[in-house]
C-alpha cells in the first residue's frame, strides 16, 4: 500500500520559506494573490491493508516524527 503524508505549516505560524518563495515568484512575474506556503510530502510503501491498527501506527509516526505538532499539521492518503 502506498502512503503519502502531507505536512504543512500551521496557518498561524510564520512560514519564512514561503515568504521568500513568493518574493522570488514575483521576480519571475508570477504574482500569487495569497501567501505562499511550503510543505513537505513523505512517500513510502507499507505491507498490509487499510486497517484501524495500521492507521493507529501511521498516526504514531505522523505525530512527532514526520510532523511537529507544535507548528505543523498533517494528513495522509492511502492508495
Amino acid at each position: 500500500m502506498k502512503v503519502t503524508v502531507f505536512v504543512t505549516p500551521k496557518k498561524t505560524v510564520l512560514d519564512p520559506q514561503g515568504a521568500a518563495v513568493g518574493h522570488a515568484m514575483e521576480h519571475l512575474n508570477v504574482k500569487p494573490s495569497s501567501d505562499v506556503r511550503v510543505g513537505k510530502t513523505i512517500e513510502f510503501e507499507l505491507e498490509g491493508s487499510d486497517t484501524p491498527e495500521l492507521r493507529a501506527q501511521l498516526e504514531k509516526i505522523c505525530d512527532g516524527l514526520l510532523s511537529n505538532p507544535v507548528i505543523e499539521d498533517y494528513r495522509y492518503e492511502l492508495a
Binding site: P16, Q17, A20, V21, H23, A24, H27, L28, V38
Partner: protein, 225 residues
C-alpha cells in the same frame, strides 16, 4: 585582475572573500550588490559562501534568479573567470554554469571542520605539481553532497573536470567530489572555503595556493586569448 565579489541577500562570506582577495592578495576588489544591472568592467567574479535567501527551497535556487545573474551567465559564457565557493558553488549549479547539484549531507547535519583534500591533475595550475598532493581547507556546510548522473560523471572524469576530492568524505558526495570546473576551464565551484585558509591564524594556509592557482590560470587563459 579587477575582482567582483557578489553579495546576495544572505551571503555571509562576502566580506571574508573580499578580505582574502583584497587584504591578502592585493587585488583590486569590490563588493557588488545583487541588484546591480551589470558587472561594470570586472575581470573576475567571485560568488561567496553563505545562505543566500536563507537556503529556502534549495540552496542557491532563489539567488540564481537575482538580477545580476544574467550578467554573470553572459560573462561566464564569454569565457570570463568565475569562482563559486560553498553557496556560490550551489548557485552556479542551479544556474547551469556547472553540472550536477548539491543536496543534504548524508549525515543530515551541518559539518564545520578542516578537511583534507586530494588534489587532481585537472588543468594548468590546478594540479599536484603546483598545489601538492593533499591540502587542508575548512568546510562548513549542510548541503554539500554532490550529485550527478552516470553520464555526467563520466563526462567530468573524461575531461579532468574534478579539481579536488575529499580524503575522508564528510557529506556523501559522489566520487568524493569537493570541487569541479566547467569543460572550458573558466567556471570553478568548490564546497571548501579557501578564503578561510590564508592567514597565520587559520588552521592552514593552503587556501593561498588555491586562490593563486585560480588567478594565475585565468591570467594565462586571457593572455592566450
Amino acid at each position: 585582475m579587477k575582482i567582483a565579489v557578489i553579495q546576495f541577500p544572505g551571503s555571509n562570506c562576502d566580506r571574508d572573500a573580499y578580505h582574502a582577495f583584497f587584504g591578502v592578495f592585493n587585488q583590486p576588489t569590490r563588493l557588488f550588490w545583487h541588484k546591480r544591472p551589470s558587472l561594470a568592467g570586472a575581470e573576475c567574479v567571485v560568488l561567496p559562501g553563505g545562505f543566500s535567501y536563507g537556503d529556502y527551497l534549495r540552496c542557491g535556487a532563489i539567488a540564481r534568479f537575482s538580477p545580476i545573474m544574467n550578467s554573470i551567465i553572459e560573462f561566464a559564457n564569454n569565457g570570463g573567470p568565475v569562482l563559486g565557493i560553498c553557496n556560490g558553488f550551489q548557485i552556479l549549479c542551479e544556474a547551469g554554469l556547472l553540472p550536477g547539484a548539491l543536496v543534504r549531507n548524508e549525515g543530515m547535519e551541518f559539518v564545520c571542520e578542516s578537511a583534507k583534500l586530494n588534489v587532481e591533475d585537472s588543468m594548468d595550475y590546478f594540479n599536484q605539481g603546483s598545489l601538492g598532493e593533499t591540502i587542508d581547507i575548512p568546510i562548513a556546510h549542510g548541503e554539500g553532497n554532490y550529485r550527478i548522473d552516470d553520464d555526467g560523471l563520466a563526462d567530468l572524469e573524461a575531461n579532468n573536470q574534478v579539481l579536488f576530492r575529499y580524503a575522508n568524505n564528510p557529506n556523501g558526495s559522489i566520487s568524493n567530489i569537493a570541487g569541479i570546473r566547467n569543460k572550458e576551464g573558466n567556471v570553478f565551484g568548490m564546497m571548501p572555503h579557501p578564503e578561510r585558509a590564508v592567514e597565520e591564524i587559520h588552521p592552514s594556509r593552503d587556501g593561498i595556493g588555491v586562490i593563486k592557482a585560480f588567478l594565475k590560470s585565468q591570467m594565462a587563459r586571457q593572455q592566450k586569448a
